[in-house]
């Protein structure tokens, strides 16, 4: 009886830990599939040999174009290339109907954060992988994990629910920006990012 009684708090502790470490992350994030699959690897490197900036271009005025519009995809994909179901659907549902793909952007920042790509890419000479990881060599798009409370992508917080970074690109919160700026001895004012 004594042993059983002493197990009660241990069981409670274990339940709390299980709820916090296992149940909570599962409940917190909901996964949504991208509207259509996209193979970065087929376009870059040994695939079509394109660079990141061929599609995610920086304009002459330094403005980042973000995800390319459907007209840019249509330059090559006016007709399906290959016979995959994904390709057929992409061309028929989006390219031929001139309809933009409602991509779910893993790295989308809150509206109150202003991030100039041009300064980081051209001036600081940061590689795309520094913040976006190996996204450019992925063969498919993983499901978008959306935080049910904040509505943001899990990529903003990082893969570890505890907030422990495994890679430089794992997490895109303000703390991550600040720590990188501190490492490069480039402390900035609030107004630089919050316009």
């Amino acid at each position: 009886m004594t042993i059983t009684r002493s197990l009660v708090p241990i069981a409670g502790l274990a339940t709390g830990l299980f709820a916090g470490w296992v149940v909570f992350p599962t409940v917190l994030y909901t996964t949504v599939d991208q509207p259509v699959q996209f193979n970065h690897a087929a376009h870059t490197g040994n695939g079509a040999g394109m660079s990141c900036q061929d599609c995610h271009a920086l304009g002459q005025d330094g403005r980042f174009a973000g995800i390319p519009g459907i007209h840019q995809c249509a330059e090559c994909h006016e007709e399906p290339i290959g016979s995959s179901e994904n390709e057929r659907r992409f061309v028929e549902e989006y390219v031929q109907q001139n309809r933009e793909v409602p991509w779910l952007v893993y790295a989308r920042q809150p509206d109150n954060a202003y991030f100039p790509h041009v300064v980081h890419v051209h001036k600081a000479k940061l590689a795309c992988e520094t913040c976006h990881g190996k996204h450019g060599s992925s063969s498919g798009l993983r499901p978008y994990e959306m935080n049910r409370i904040s509505g943001y992508s899990r990529d903003i917080w990082g893969s570890s629910i505890a907030g422990i970074k495994s890679q430089a690109w794992d997490g895109m919160k303000m703390d991550d920006c600040i720590s990188c700026h501190s490492v490069h001895n480039n402390d900035r004012a609030c107004i630089d990012c919050h316009k």
Binding site: T4, R5, V8, P9, I10, A11, G12, L13, A14, T15, G16, L17, F18, A19, G20, W21, F24, P25, L28, D61, R63, P110, D111, N112, Y114, N147, I149, S150, G151, Y152, W157, I161, A162, G163, A189, C190, I191, H194, K195
Partner: protein, 714 residues
């Protein structure tokens, strides 16, 4: 196994402890905190094409050119337009957040009646037509011998001309402008030169030695581009600037100047006259050139009074050593061009006698009318109509105003509510404000007719008043005008029974500029600008203005006067100057007594509301001292019985204020500094004005003279 209440409690407690050792509570807090930034009340940047628009910042008279980055046609970021001559790529932090003001929480959504309760300022809405009718009723039924007044915080605009034309038809009608240092400087030079209507600018770009008397040249006195250029010139090998700043207060300019003269409070006149004495003694050629032409009586009086300001006496009065005074006098005489600037601080104007002494020293130094000194500014053309005379609040008889319209929301010391209140008729009055925000002077009004927020309407910007170059530009609208806002011209139309559109009036003024054919028009693509003759019509200039161009006109080449009256025809000025040779000692902290000096920020923040983002930065960083902090030397503080961080009360003969003590060893003993002016931390609350009368009696004195105050622990 039996489930007991104790067992359940143990299980729940342990579960809670387990959760505490998991990321759940911390992640939950972090995610919920984001709701404060994503709530429905937070303005959202629309999704849409990214574009660039150009305009002019109208938050202060500086008129810096801005480049707005827009999403879906709505600006989300502001920065300086790099190649534009207006601003030359510089913009202050307040200007960078100017597009936030349309969403300011204290913005009024329509015509409002103001109610002042014990601790809040509240509003009742009424229709614009009802507000117009009440104001018209007050105009038509006002008691005999009482008049109508307009306080114009931004004189020189086309709208200012309309106000003056309207007031010229009233009997009496008072057109009131802030009683600032610029006005007093012009008075002093007009007195000395015998010329009326002078308009002078400071050619600081070419000055080699600059003595500033309390002028915050490095902190918002002029537009950011000029400030930055001035800061750079301190280290310029070819064209170096030596800035000597005299001020009993520790300000940013004191810190950044090449030399700070921490003069005793109220000793600025003695300093100027002492330096005049040194210049005349050591540089007889200067004295001969200018003094020989003086009227005999004037010359005798000047020399007599200067004999009272020997370096020894001035050193005793100001607390500045004799050899330092000699060196400053020598620098002014030798490192030419040199110039002396007095005042310009938002804490209040310097007294007229000091301005007269500064004008005399500038004339002796040859600074008046020469490059690197004070140059005559061109005048902005104004349509010729009968206009009310320009006056200051001090010119208006007490109890004589029954209808007061306050245009703009700035509350400088010279137009603070205490100075206005006594001018209102005790038999009934109506105060109308056109501020878009419920704050500062608008909180004292009876009715507020909110004008459009910055960038919601085409606002005229008449340029930096300290510059020798006169400019005119239009702050092009970047945002849709909010429903319920009222252009001040609409109110004037209703009162005068006319129907004129602001845009037509602006076009008329631009036509006058075009007809004169003087100056240049510079746009965003071509910073060098084009001559007016290159524009075939005024409509072409208007089109350029709408795209963000600015008209500039260089200083006039007027021949300086040959004869001066350094005493400025001012009755008894010799006696008043002589009295400045001896002064009151600083407070020594005994019995808690100190000399209390007001400080105020002179940048765009003092001209009105600032973005909540800037409020947060100010609060967290203490970049700007708030009204809640009393700064004093540690020794003075200990003698007053207070310590750093203590809550205290500062009491003057006119009021008291609760403050938090801040020690600063760089402040001179016996004085204390207290910030005045708008306090964003308490905006919209009646406490914004609590304790604002501690400086009421400084209005007739220089802010550098201060007032005697007692500091005690709360």
């Amino acid at each position: 196994m039996q489930v007991t209440r104790r067992g359940l409690l143990k299980f729940a407690g342990a579960s809670a402890a387990g959760i505490l050792f998991s990321p759940l509570p911390w992640k939950l807090l972090d995610d919920i905190a984001i709701w404060t930034q994503t709530g429905p009340w937070i303005p959202k940047v629309p999704r849409g094409p990214l574009t660039t628009a150009f305009s002019t910042c109208a938050l202060c008279p500086g008129g810096c050119a801005v480049e707005a980055r827009c999403a879906g046609g709505i600006p989300y970021a502001m920065r300086a337009a790099v190649r534009h001559t207006a601003g030359r790529g510089a913009l202050c932090p307040v200007g960078m957040t100017g597009h936030h003001l349309a969403y300011h929480p204290l913005r009024l959504s329509g015509a409002s009646v103001i109610r002042r309760t014990s601790d809040q300022v509240e509003t009742d809405s009424l229709s614009t037509q009802e507000a117009f009718d009440r104001i018209l009723g007050a105009l038509n039924t006002r008691p005999l011998a009482t008049g109508v007044a307009v306080i114009d915080q931004r004189p020189g605009r086309t709208l200012s001309g309309q106000f003056r034309a309207f007031l010229a038809q009233q009997s009496p009608g008072y057109y009131i402008v802030p009683d600032d240092d610029r006005l007093r400087m012009h008075e002093a030079f007009s007195n000395a030169c015998g010329k009326d209507g002078l308009s002078l600018g400071f050619d600081i770009e070419r000055t080699a030695t600059l003595l500033t008397i309390g002028t915050p040249v490095f902190d918002g006195w002029t537009r950011p581009a000029r400030t930055a250029a001035l800061l750079d010139r301190r280290h310029d090998a070819r064209n170096p600037l030596k800035l000597i700043h005299a001020d009993p207060r520790r300000t940013r300019t004191s810190v950044l100047a090449d030399q700070w003269l921490p003069i005793a409070p109220g000793s600025e006149t003695a300093l100027v006259l002492g330096l005049t004495n040194i210049v005349m003694r050591d540089h007889p050629s200067l004295a001969a050139r200018y003094v020989a032409d003086l009227h005999t009586s004037d010359r005798r009086g000047m020399l007599d009074v200067l004999s009272l300001f020997t370096p020894g006496i001035v050193a005793k009065r100001t607390g500045i050593p004799v050899d330092t005074l000699e060196k400053v006098g020598s620098a002014l005489a030798h490192r030419k061009p040199s110039m002396v600037i007095a005042g310009g601080d938002a804490a209040g104007p310097i007294d007229r006698d000091t301005h007269q002494a500064v004008a005399a020293l500038n004339i002796l130094l040859g600074s008046y009318g020469t490059p690197g000194g004070l140059l005559h500014r061109d005048e902005l053309p104004m349509p010729a109509t009968k206009m009310a005379a320009i006056s200051t609040i001090g010119d208006v008889p007490d109890g004589s105003i029954s209808l007061l319209i306050i245009d703009g929301e700035e509350m400088t010391c010279s137009t603070c509510w205490e100075s206005i209140e006594s001018k209102l008729s005790p038999d009934g009055h109506l105060v109308v404000s056109t501020s878009p925000f419920l704050t500062q002077l608008s909180a004292h009004a009876d009715i507020v007719l909110p004008s459009p927020a910055p960038y919601e309407t085409a606002a005229e910007v008449v340029g930096d008043p300290t510059d020798t170059v006169v400019s005119l530009s239009i702050s092009t609208p970047l945002l849709p005008r909010k429903q319920g806002s009222v252009e001040p011209i609409e109110l004037l139309n209703h009162l005068s029974g006319e129907s004129v559109a602001m845009q037509e009036l602006l076009k008329q003024r631009i036509a006058l500029v075009h007809a004169r054919g003087r100056g240049m028009i510079a746009g965003y693509q071509d910073g060098s600008g084009h001559r007016l003759s290159e524009f075939a019509s005024a409509d072409e200039i208007w089109s350029a203005f709408i795209e963000g161009a600015v008209w500039t006109s260089p200083p006039l080449h007027e021949t300086p006067a040959h004869s001066y009256t350094l005493l400025g025809h001012s009755p008894n000025i010799v006696d008043r100057w002589a009295a400045r040779a001896e002064g009151e000692p600083n407070g020594n902290g005994a019995d808690g007594q100190v000399i209390l000096l007001p400080t105020a920020s002179s940048d765009a923040a003092s001209c009105g509301r600032i973005s909540p983002l800037m409020t947060k930065i100010y609060q967290e960083s203490e970049v700007r001292p708030t009204r809640a902090h009393l700064v004093l030397h540690p020794d003075t503080g200990r003698r007053c019985g207070v310590d750093d961080g203590d809550q205290a009360v500062v009491q003057t003969e006119s009021g008291s204020r609760h403050v938090t003590i801040r020690f600063s060893a760089s402040l001179m003993p016996g004085v204390a500094q207290l910030s005045i002016g708008p306090d964003p931390n308490v905006s919209g609350k009646k406490s914004e004005f609590a304790g604002s009368d501690v400086f009421r009696n400084t209005l007739s004195r220089s802010p550098m003279a201060g007032v005697t105050a007692i500091v005690r622990r709360a």
